[in-house]
Amino acid sequence: MNVRLDTTVGSLKLTNPVLAASGTFGYGLDLLEFCPPESLGGVVTKGLSPRPRRGNPTPRIVETAAGMINAIGLQNIGVEAFCREALPQLRVRGAVVVVNVFGERMEEYLEVIDRCEAEDGLAGYELNVSCPNVTAGGMEFGHDPVPLERLTAICRAATRRPLWVKLSPNAPDLVATARAAVAGGADALTLINTVRAMAIDADTRRPILANGFGGLSGPAVKPIALRMVWEVHKAVPAVPLVGIGGIETGRDVVEFVLAGASAVQVGTAIFRDPAAPLRIVAELETFCDDHKVARVAELTGGLQWR
């Protein structure tokens, strides 16, 4: 027996539920020999802003116990360069591409979407309203339901493509932000972005990251991410969720799916293993076959509370 891995996130059909996460897979074309983008459920681009961004000074990353903190600061080539240089190749390959959208102001989110609307071969948008590493934009939209709903609504009006909103684990009230994004017209919610964190160098008595703070990712945060996916799923059961945070194995995917995710994203694991997303798809397939699961999609939200 062979499990059917195909699934849907709202109206978006995916051949399998494993996507590469924003900021951990470049623009989808850097690891072709390890993980061709078309072999995944989809790829989420590095956060794109209207114009190129330099990002933060260095050091930008630091390893922690079973995790890492990053403060890249959304360095990216800008939406124009993406559409001209990366997108055509992704299109030829048949990859499902979700653009991670970032702006310092609401209009900047719109600028990115507007530029992308001129292009074919894009599957949808993921609004990054939860980056802990930039001073303007990002978190301020993600932490307060009122501007979040407005931002989502404005973006909703600009596109008919699937619109995902990526939630922040640092928001005061996660469920309230989830509801606000849905009220604004989001088709799905991605969670979680990185957890605000800090590392200190005891010798120099300074923060290790040039930015001071950063975002924690990797296996360390998995138990927190899983809890948040389940909480949001209980609160808004009809809303498709994309789970993310510390996923390293096919079994991890099953856990997120049981907690309510329709699809998942793999981030930091790619840094340890450039073939991680593809390996995870294979592990997921084996797990499902061993457990006589006919369709991955039937597992979504299947957690049996004790």
Binding site: T24, K46, T58, E63, A65, A66, M68, R272
Partner: protein
């Protein structure tokens, strides 16, 4: 670019080179075509702690009888390198390699090259020296360390330099062997004395590279430095390892480097 791969490797041997440094030979059945300056990302534990692979320069590659031996030289400084020092011979690891660019190894008309090493900066430069020796490109080799005990592979360095009639200059910070002082001071003395190098190739700690940069810029010498930035992925997707260029851009040192020409680097990059 030369094909990189995630190689299944076996720790075939481990030898102490100094009180803090050791050599690891990693064996794989795959072919590895690496050039001096390139590096690999090596797993060093089994669980999720430490989480990330460690970047290590390739010190040499030998293939015989269907087996490739990749040589690395490692300084034990933290958790990853300590695990590596204690990995038993026979352990299986993964090495993502070769990564990054390499040094320019062509001869420069009428001059020799100057190779400069500080401490554990030896592996890429020794790899370069041995390849230059094989190609009969002349060079002098400057090797500095904190003390005599920390000078690595002196014989091998001497042999490589001698093969092309070059000089091996040893320096120690404490004067316990070779010339007393920094390796860049020894280089400066030779330059002041009329020595001319068509290109400098260097790897070492940041303060040494900073001193070298000033020296090279002051005298308008071509110089290539192998830089060491903290890395998560080694393949250009995390943007953690960026180096600032003179035009203000941040570029991934794992892809556009780790070897950079001094004239491309932002001045304020130097500490």
């Amino acid at each position: 670019m030369i094909a990189r791969r995630d190689l299944a490797v076996r720790v075939a041997a481990r030898t102490d080179l100094s009180p803090t440094c050791f050599r690891v030979i990693l064996e794989t059945v795959d072919e590895v075509a690496a050039v001096p300056g390139q590096f690999g990302m090596l797993t060093c534990g089994v669980g999720f702690d430490p989480l990330l692979r460690r970047a290590l320069s390739i010190a040499g590659v030998v293939r015989r009888e269907g087996v490739t031996c990749v040589e690395m030289m490692v300084k034990e400084i933290g958790r990853g390198t300590t695990l590596l020092r204690h990995a038993s011979v026979g352990s299986r690891l993964r090495l993502l390699a070769p990564l990054g660019n390499g040094f320019t190894l062509t001869a420069v008309e009428g001059t020799r090259l100057g190779l400069i090493v500080g401490g554990i900066g030896l592996p890429p430069v020794l790899f370069a020296a041995e390849q230059l020796a094989a190609r009969k490109v002349g060079f002098d080799l400057y090797v500095g360390a904190a003390s005599g005990a920390e000078l690595l592979e002196v014989e091998r360095c001497g042999k490589a330099a001698a093969a092309v009639g070059g000089e091996l200059v040893l320096t120690t910070d404490d004067g316990s062997a070779g010339e007393h002082g920094f390796v860049t001071d020894a280089l400066q003395r030779r330059l002041d004395g009329g020595c001319a190098y068509g290109r400098l190739l260097a790897c070492g700690p940041n303060p040494m590279l900073a001193a070298l940069t000033r020296l090279a810029r002051d005298r308008a010498l071509a110089a290539e430095l192998s830089l060491e930035e903290p890395m998560a992925c080694g393949v250009g997707v995390c943007l953690g390892c960026v180096v600032e260029l003179e035009d203000g851009r941040y570029v991934a040192s794992c892809k556009e480097g780790p070897v950079f020409s001094v004239d491309r680097l932002a001045e304020r990059w130097w500490p």
